[in-house]
Amino acid sequence: MLQFLVRRLIGAVVIMFLIGAFTFFLFYTIPQDFAELSCGKNCSPENIAVIRENLGLDKPITAQFWEFMTGIVAGRDFAQGHCSAPCLGMSFDSGEFVWDSIMDRFPLTLSLTVGGLVIFLILGLGSGLLAAWKRGTAADKLVSGASIVLSSFQIYFLGPIVLGILVYQSGIMENPSYKPFTENPVTWAIGLLIPWLVMATIFTAQYTRMSRSTMIEQLQEEHVRTARAKGMKQRYVFFRYAWRGSLIPIVTILGMDLSALLSGAVVTEFTFDLAGIGRLAVDSSLTKDLPVTMGVMLFGAFFILLLNILVDLAYAYIDPRVRLS
């Protein structure tokens, strides 16, 4: 197990390094002077030269890249002060340290992602199980039909509709907002409830269909039939035998969906006007603020790789045949 974790982490580091390199060098193909960005409106050539030196832009590209990468591990010193260990550089535009601005925004994105994930897994797997249990009945048809229709909705279409009904017209809920979990978990959950539900609706549908069809497949397996023939309780067979088997393909799909989940969080941020790392990414890429874009990319990649490792661990837990090492 430990060996597996170490190997995966090393792999993750390699991939992050490559993504960083790719992003960095592609950005330098733009015929643009980054020093001009942080100079503002009235810029003299001397000013630009000073800024260039401060930001280290006068060095060769490879040296700049090396500085950036070592900064992540060891920290860096800027004219504006020391940037401690996971240092993703300093914004050309605002002069803030990138790590700090990401940390400002990330709790929101994390809350959206995790909250949405939990809700759609519960709803999706639950309704899928129900549909498989009551296969062929009206409940099954309702769930299957609704899931196909709902999966065709988009966050940016469903979001305003839900807002319109719950907030603008009836006033039952307030406009979604982010209040830190550490301050008050209840207001945190209430503030994000609408975004979670909207985000979960889109993802739920797919998992409903998946869990229904894999469950039906599993119920036709021979070991399940044998268990039934032995006279085991229906419920026991359903959950202990069939459900466990049906989880394997679902976890596989979940692993592939993680990046979609993050982008779902980005769309949700925009739909409900919340400031997470998605908005940071868009703003920085529009102003071509390289360090911020790099930082967000690397951070996003890291986040997805981390979740992937977690999914792999879950895999081993569900299916004992999977030996991790």
């Binding site: 999966s151 065709s152 279409f157 305003p160 603008y168 868009v282 890429s285 529009l286 990319m297």
Partner: protein, 344 residues
Amino acid sequence: MTSPIDIEGSGTSAAADDAPDRVKAVETKSHEGRSPGQLMWLRFKRDRTGVVSACVVILYFLVSALAPLIAKLYGKDPYTLYAQEPEYPFLLDDFAMPTGSFGGMSGDFWFGVEPKLGRDVFTMLLYGMRTSLYMAVVVTLLCVVTGVIIGMVSGFFGGRVDYWLGRITDFFLAFPQQLFFIAFMPVVTAMFVSPQDETPTYLRAVAITLVMWFLGWMGLARLVRSSVLTLREREFVEAAKVSGASPWRIVRKEILPNIVTPILVQATYILPSTILSIAFLSYIGVGFVEPTPDWGRMFAIGADVYEQDPMFMFFPGVALVVFVLSFNLLGDSVRDAFDPKTGR
């Protein structure tokens, strides 16, 4: 899904009367022989959902292809600010919201009027769909071709080639996709025009296509690779090899026809998701910009004015839902028709 035999075996009461005829019919039919394509077509035709959604999808493509013609007959275009035209003096009220109910729907403006600017929603949607559909088709084709080539090469040659192509695929899969799109749209655009200049619309389209293509082929490459790996060991491929067929011939005549099915099914999933990605980019403001009519940007406008004029978003939204829905259903039906074993 039902197989042809099932259909012929149904209706047991009738079977007793004309049993000998039926046997004869089955015999003559089996002599005819059908290609897998014909069988698939027969199965597909029997699937009512599939046929209906295919019709809807074709309708969308027709409407997009004929958008200029329809707009001409209808007499409007997506760029004119009709609120400023003397013919329509009361299009927008004092708050720049459409006068009249349902977002200003009328005989002149079928789907209503855009708040603030007073453009025609119907033609905006037509042209928006047109851009999205065209681009999605191009991106899908590029992704399919790239994925098939890379998957084929790594599956067929194996060994070191396979290893490295596999690592490259893994690398691209590790990118956070939408963040990548967001980050690289300006970069790719800047490769063609200097950042100070206005970017022409077609260059934006090219940039979007490139970015989507770049991260769109991996799934297909993996799929093709694994299918080729299993096919490579099959007897008919061995036989072809033994009888001296060239690798190119084996790929073309033995392997490719066998993987058309999964490729096609995969393509029906790539296309709508590409449309959604393009819409996503425009929605958050890094894709198409004013005044290009675009599906995704209509949602951005709609979200802005949703409190005052919820109707603006209605038609683009419903059109998108119907499109994605029918495409998904079509994909499922095509899959079922190709491979009747995977029942829903």
